[in-house]
Amino acid sequence: MPLTNELIQQKLIDQFGDQITEWTQPYGMLTFTAPKELNLKVLQFLYDDPELRFQFLTDLQAVHFPDRKGEELMVVYHLHNLTDNIRIRLKIYTDIATPDVYSATALYKSANFMERETYDFFGVNFVGHPNLIRILNVDEMDYFPLRKEFPLEDQSRTDKDDDMFGR
């Protein structure tokens, strides 16, 4: 039987019950949310299950939602089953004050650099990462630059009249 989004959803519900929430399928890609303590268990299940076989971690990054109190940071795992060619997305939310998330480096070697990058730009603390230091920014940096607390100037503002730059 070919692997479908519904089958994946059913298998995850059988295994984890109602702990996995927010089932959506934007543009056909199954997306769901797990509690952050369960992220490794879900990833391991998706990896090991003989039918699911999500063994390729395409991408891992974070998103900052300043307005969601208590779950300001979201970590997203993009997984790919190369055999059946199905992609899914796993999201977990974490509090920005204690952004501790279990590291997936034991499961995916590729998570090493991606988690370092996520730490570098969003300050997610991946517990169990072998070498969680900054990767693209200078070591001395003491803030996380891609968080939303650093807004860029609104390009459509009209109150500035600058002859030199034509605004």
Binding site: Y27, Q55, F56, L57, T58, L82, N85, Y108, K109, S110, F113, M114, I135, L136, N137, V138, P145, L146, F150, L152, E153, D154, Q155
Partner: protein, 285 residues
């Protein structure tokens, strides 16, 4: 006393050598540094610094309108910037729900395949330079020049192209662009053959690349390899075949797959001979 540089604790007693390799510049952008732990000539351990090369495209993209992001995507890989442009266009079109005419898809495929060729030309001819044969590089670079002239005819620029628009192209391809494309297709295959006969069974090249840096398919997947490097390790996956975009499903082409993942397989995994020619003829543009 404290003016002297102090050696790290235990450096005298240990049996290995620490060597600082770099910072070098792989293709001049950014720096890449490796601190190696050597036992004679064998590398036991390497600590890599990939370099301070982040240019905050994500941050810029938070504020700017969609069409102002396209020039940024040029810079993601300047050897094949049109593909990056197309990737951005196709993403935006998907988000906006735009349906494109077939002609746009096919014109895009021509541009994308050309840039794929020009990218692989760089990879494969530079391997030649690195293993001591400069002439192969010079043979192929003139064809990159031809490809750049086609870009120039289509969009006005060569390296960072900003080609196309969300929803199509800025204008139709000119007659000159098609003429240059014909010229490219007429001359390139023969030159490529010459390049291949110089390298493929060349004793020096084979000895330097076979068994050099091999990786198993399982390991390559776990490390997140993609594209030609993943195929060189023996994983038969190509996104153009498995998840076709821009009407790739209308075309047939062969994808080389390796077995050991060493440099020699990767050399063949990045095919310099390519599908663009009969795609071009089949579309009958």
């Amino acid at each position: 006393m404290s003016e002297h540089i102090l050696l790290p604790e235990g450096s005298i007693e240990k049996q290995t050598t620490t060597l600082n390799l770099g910072p070098t510049h792989p293709a001049t952008h950014g720096v890449f540094q490796n601190i190696l732990e050597l036992d004679g000539e064998r590398i036991l351990k390497s600590t890599s610094t990939v370099g301070y090369i982040h240019r905050a495209f994500e941050k810029l993209a938070e504020r700017r309108p969609l069409y102002q992001i396209t020039p940024l995507t040029d810079r993601l890989n300047y050897c094949s910037s049109p593909i990056n442009n197309m990737g951005w266009h196709i993403t935006c079109e998907k988000l906006l729900g735009i349906q494109l005419p077939k002609r746009v898809d096919y014109l895009r495929i021509i541009i994308m395949e050309l840039s794929r060729i020009s990218d692989h030309l760089i990879c494969n001819s530079i391997v030649g330079v690195d293993s001591g044969a400069f002439s192969g590089f010079l043979y192929l670079m003139q064809f990159r020049e031809l490809i750049y002239e086609i870009y120039e005819e289509v969009c006005g620029s060569r390296l960072t192209t900003n080609i196309g628009r969300i929803g199509g192209f800025e204008r139709n391809f000119t007659e000159t662009a098609f003429a240059k494309l014909d010229q490219f297709l007429a001359t390139y295959p023969a030159q490529l053959k010459e390049f291949e006969s110089m390298f493929n069974r060349n004793r020096i090249f084979m000895e330097r690349t076979i068994g050099c840096g091999p990786i198993s398919a399982e390991k390559a997947l776990n490390y997140g390899f993609t594209g030609p490097n993943l195929r060189a390790a023996g994983v038969d996956y190509d996104v153009r075949v498995h998840t076709p975009y821009s009407s790739y499903e209308d075309f047939e082409f062969t994808i080389p797959v390796g077995s050991t993942g060493d440099c020699y397989d990767r050399f063949f995994g990045a095919p310099t001979g390519n599908v663009a020619e009969y795609q071009y003829h089949r579309t009958g543009l």
